[in-house]
Amino acid sequence: MANNKVTSIEEAIAAHVQHGDVVALQNMATQAAPMAAVRELIRQDKRGLGVVVLVGGIAVDWLSFASVMDRLIGAAVTMEQFGLCQRYRKAVEGGRVRVEELSETALNARLGAGARNLPYLPTRGLIGTDLIKQNPDNLRLVEDPFGGPAVVACRTLVPDVALVHAHRVDAEGNVQYKPTTLWPDIGIFPKAAKKVIVTAEEIVSSDILRRSPDRTVLPGFVVDAVVEVPYGAHPTSFFPEYRYDSDFHLAWAKVSRDDDAAQEFFDKHILGPSSHAEYLSAAGGAAMMSRLRGKECV
């Protein structure tokens, strides 16, 4: 094996995420967040992180409560049917997390410019909104050099680290997804980031990937660390493998407004378990896992 990048989640986060880094998260509300990596950021007590996310969910709530992040660059933060992220809200309202709010196309443009080493890419979204004047460092209305209407220049964004969760990966970091929607754009943000940590449901041999190279969406040469974490997106969903965990989201939503109860939840689910297996066990173990793989419409 020429480039074996397999490591543990502890070592991956310790080696590749520094205090103050800008960390890009795969996530769309209750979908597909790299939760094992997020928990490890908290366990290692990282500080001063900026979080880049399309629509953050429980991951952003936890990172806010743990005071791991102090800024957010993203389009929205919500747990959808489980309500607003209350700890994130409180942190923003208290001035402890600073928000750079972008529309989806503006975030897309900033990361796209980062991936392609461009100073900016334009969008036609956001024109007329207060989001442009709120963010003069990164968004500017500019003339079209070809004579058309003005567009919004979205400044390049290069995260220090991208956290990706995938279905399977080989030891060199070639990343495959099962037939899927590729939420939320694995297509751009890992290519913009300086480093990429991939957690995956399973690590497989390259020979397995060779059977379906059309499913490989990220080449190993962009990846720095590879970690096997089954149910690594729990409690978010990871289509088509497992659904979001309603009970778990509800349990967090219920305690999240109260400092002591939220801390108790953290002790039980994040700080207490000494391994991913212990985490899964505390979250309901085999019964939970089989429930989330069931087919019924919820």
């Binding site: 769309m28 993203g74 929205a76 001035g95 709010e101 529309s103 989806e104 979204g125 590729l182």
Partner: protein
């Protein structure tokens, strides 16, 4: 269609009325998509496809094309809604190639925490200071794009009140008619807000001033009720008709086929 199918229902609830009105905005040849927490638009698209607009194309969660979910599930952003699709679209990147193009997905339903008299929407912050707001709302997501991309915007608001319908939004996270008149047009923006469907009324925008105007009142709701529940002076025409009521067939479809679990009612009373 039998005459009976067009019979106005005697018994319906306001969620069913709102779904019926929203569905009337979507026709064969349109493409509709939905975002999160969008039970009323999703129900409306499903209803339109089952009744007057079988050719309405639906891109569920901006992800699953022409899906066939068994019913409205607990989330409008998760895979249960995209079941049996003909295509999975990569939302964040590829979706916008179609949505920004200007030829497709020209109608969009918008839910917002605050909406003002010129149809500007706020899902960002309540309060004067963006960085220490009184309330941090979820954020603009795709709305900040949709408002500026020439789309026809259809707002829905299940909780018509002076808090949600305000004279001026605290923060413009999606462009409506901005300061009214030609201001939107002068910025080069086409499209714009077309209607607002609330639990009390249907509203639209006066063509010259772009001020929000009462178009119809739901059965049992008076103009004074609507005035009292609105945080600014609405344009009120001399004749205010009653909002067209759902047919018996529409109500049956909503209750028995589209949303037997009543997910649509989760949006009310917030």
């Amino acid at each position: 269609m039998s005459g009976e199918a067009h019979q106005e229902a005697r018994d319906y609830t306001v969620d069913e009325l709102m779904i019926s009105v929203l569905s009337s905005f979507f026709e064969d040849g349109d493409q509709a998509c939905n975002g999160m927490a969008s039970f009323l638009p999703v129900s409306a698209f499903m209803l339109a496809r089952l009744t007057h607009a079988p050719g309405l194309v639906w891109l569920a969660s901006a992800t699953g094309l022409e899906p066939r979910p068994a019913k409205v599930p607990a989330s409008t952003l998760e895979s249960q809604l995209w079941s049996d699709s003909v295509m999975y679209m990569e939302q964040y990147g590829d979706f916008w190639n179609y949505a920004m193009n200007g030829r497709w997905l020209q109608k969009f339903c918008v839910g917002a925490a605050q909406l003002d008299m010129y149809g500007n929407a706020n899902n960002s912050v309540i309060g004067a200071d963006f960085h220490t707001p009184k309330v941090r709302l979820p954020g603009t997501a795709g709305l900040g794009d949709m408002g500026s991309l020439g789309k026809l915007l259809y707002y829905w608001n299940p909780n018509h009140s002076p808090r949600s319908l305000v004279e001026k939004v605290d923060f413009v996270s999606a462009a409506g008619y901005l300061g009214g008149g030609d201001e939107r047009e002068d910025l080069g923006l086409a499209g714009g807000p077309q209607a607002v469907v609330t639990n009390l009324a249907v509203l639209d925008f006066e063509p010259e001033s772009k001020m929000m105007r009462l178009r119809s009142a739901h059965r049992g709701v008076t103009v004074d009720d609507i005035r009292a529940a609105t945080g600014f002076e609405l344009v009120i025409p001399t004749d205010v008709p009653t909002t067209p009521e759902p047919t018996e067939e529409q109500v049956r479809l909503i209750r028995e086929v589209i949303d037997p679990d009543g997910m649509r009612r989760r949006e009310f009373g917030r």
